[in-house]
Symmetry: C2
Amino acid sequence: MAMKSMSDLKSDYNNINLGHGSGGVMTRELLDNIIFKAFSNTFLDKKHDGAIISTQGAMAISTDSFVVSPIFFKGGDIGQLAVHGTVNDVAMCGAIPEYLSLSFIVEEGMDMKDFIKIVKSIKEAADKSDVKIITGDTKVVERGKGDKIFINTTGFGRVHPNANISADLIRNGDKIIVSGPIAQHGMAIMSQREGLEFESNIESDSTNLNFLVESMLDEFGKDIRLLRDPTRGGMASVLCEIADDMKLGIRLREGDLPMNKQVAAACEMLGLDPLFVASEGIFLAFVHPDSADDILHLMSNHEKGGGAAIIGEVESSHPGRVVMESRIGGKRMVTPLLGEQLPRIC
Amino acid sequence: MAMKSMSDLKSDYNNINLGHGSGGVMTRELLDNIIFKAFSNTFLDKKHDGAIISTQGAMAISTDSFVVSPIFFKGGDIGQLAVHGTVNDVAMCGAIPEYLSLSFIVEEGMDMKDFIKIVKSIKEAADKSDVKIITGDTKVVERGKGDKIFINTTGFGRVHPNANISADLIRNGDKIIVSGPIAQHGMAIMSQREGLEFESNIESDSTNLNFLVESMLDEFGKDIRLLRDPTRGGMASVLCEIADDMKLGIRLREGDLPMNKQVAAACEMLGLDPLFVASEGIFLAFVHPDSADDILHLMSNHEKGGGAAIIGEVESSHPGRVVMESRIGGKRMVTPLLGEQLPRIC
């Protein structure tokens, strides 16, 4: 179904109610009038309990539930985030995302217009990412037992033939590239969160990274050792986890970390370390040092990697630890996020 | 990891708190001490954002979110239900379930002992169903924004080589078999639900149906046209949906419907039509009439199909409609569930 007919999505109800999760007539109406219409494809049109796909060889699978609050924010909403997040996790496995499952947990009383808006946003993000929604589920919980809407997506895609992604393959001297400015998504959410609202035009960076990853694998294949997106817990938590897993050290240079000025200012204002703040539209690549500049060049010329930079390298000294050189030449140990900076960022 | 060491699962915390969903140190502790320990396998041990599996040919995929309340009930809990539900949906596609993703949305404050109990129950159900948990996610929402725990599972498995399951293949004269007594799960939940508690020993029938389905496909392959489990909305909703999709009629015989006496009595007491009440451990099979008796024989001799019965057939008269012959010879039209009988049955 073409996107232009997305305006046809409508319901006889102004709000989601418990009957929409009953498995009976109301569930069927919601499916027929909204879900099946929006996502229509040969898999979903069978209306079975599941979908059947053709596969061949290695497939990557990744799942995430999205509980972000607010559900609409600058630069995105929970719907596109649920597509991008899982598309990107599949891409981080060195795979080409092809299919998504889609499961809603809706709170009774949710505005039907908001629900439809989110469905459209999912459809648009899925089309842009070139993935199909092939199976799904809708549950409704009583008022006060959920929070508007939670979305689970599980993604599948075939592993790129050139990919050989594994933390085990990281070596002393490998370079670390980040694909763009950090901490954007988290600061967009925080700037809109109840009680924290402050003047800001910071937009979430939520986007699909699969095509950029695919080009990198096409050209540089096995020189790409590991891909990881610094979402919850931010760069610091992800890098500490990797250092710990591979028993090697990581050195970062603060001055090389790309960051939007507004984001830096907002972090300072709220007293937040940007290394702990979630991103949704960037990733870290650990790469062979000989190819690092060429990979950076490719990334910088791609629309999703415009702000890419080499930010550090892997070292055999200080195994398991992440060290950052500050702008003025000092060093500090980077630790992972301990508690919870701000919940429900994704 | 052997089941005996499941007693090792423990946490430094008495309750789940927001930090467990932060992506930082507390998330990692929960994963390392409980999740990775419980489900340890070569896929999960990589601790990547996703898992990579080997595939070949047609694979079935099915997803479901589970929001059942209460989370512990007679005969089961939300954990094993989340495994059985998705295992069965994959089986209903004519496939052999092999892998599950597992995603939690936990409410802040959930008792850690209950969380661990559910993790153990998931592990036990997955082992019994012969499926592996290969990737997952854990989110935590603030107190009052969820309800203890919601679980999403997405299942994958290769389509059985003999399977050719499709509503399009149903023909006039096909027989309809149900694998066991109806309405068991729904009545178990209702009998325990706040405000509805009544004396009853009714247990949920939640179980894995994959091995029974596999034996049926091994022996009768293409004579099995459609498989469907009557969960939400019950038998009536599922049969009406099938009749509507295939533009054929369905005739049921009330006297042939297997039902436990206690369940029948409880339905009568609450004024509920058992045809609308959810099951979790039975399924409907539409089969070629020539093989119906042999298929019934196989099912009856299987531990998961002991109560199987032929309950009706497909007719070319009254297309799109389901008619039931009552015990005393009358006829009534069976309609799908309109509103919501009782929410959060699964």
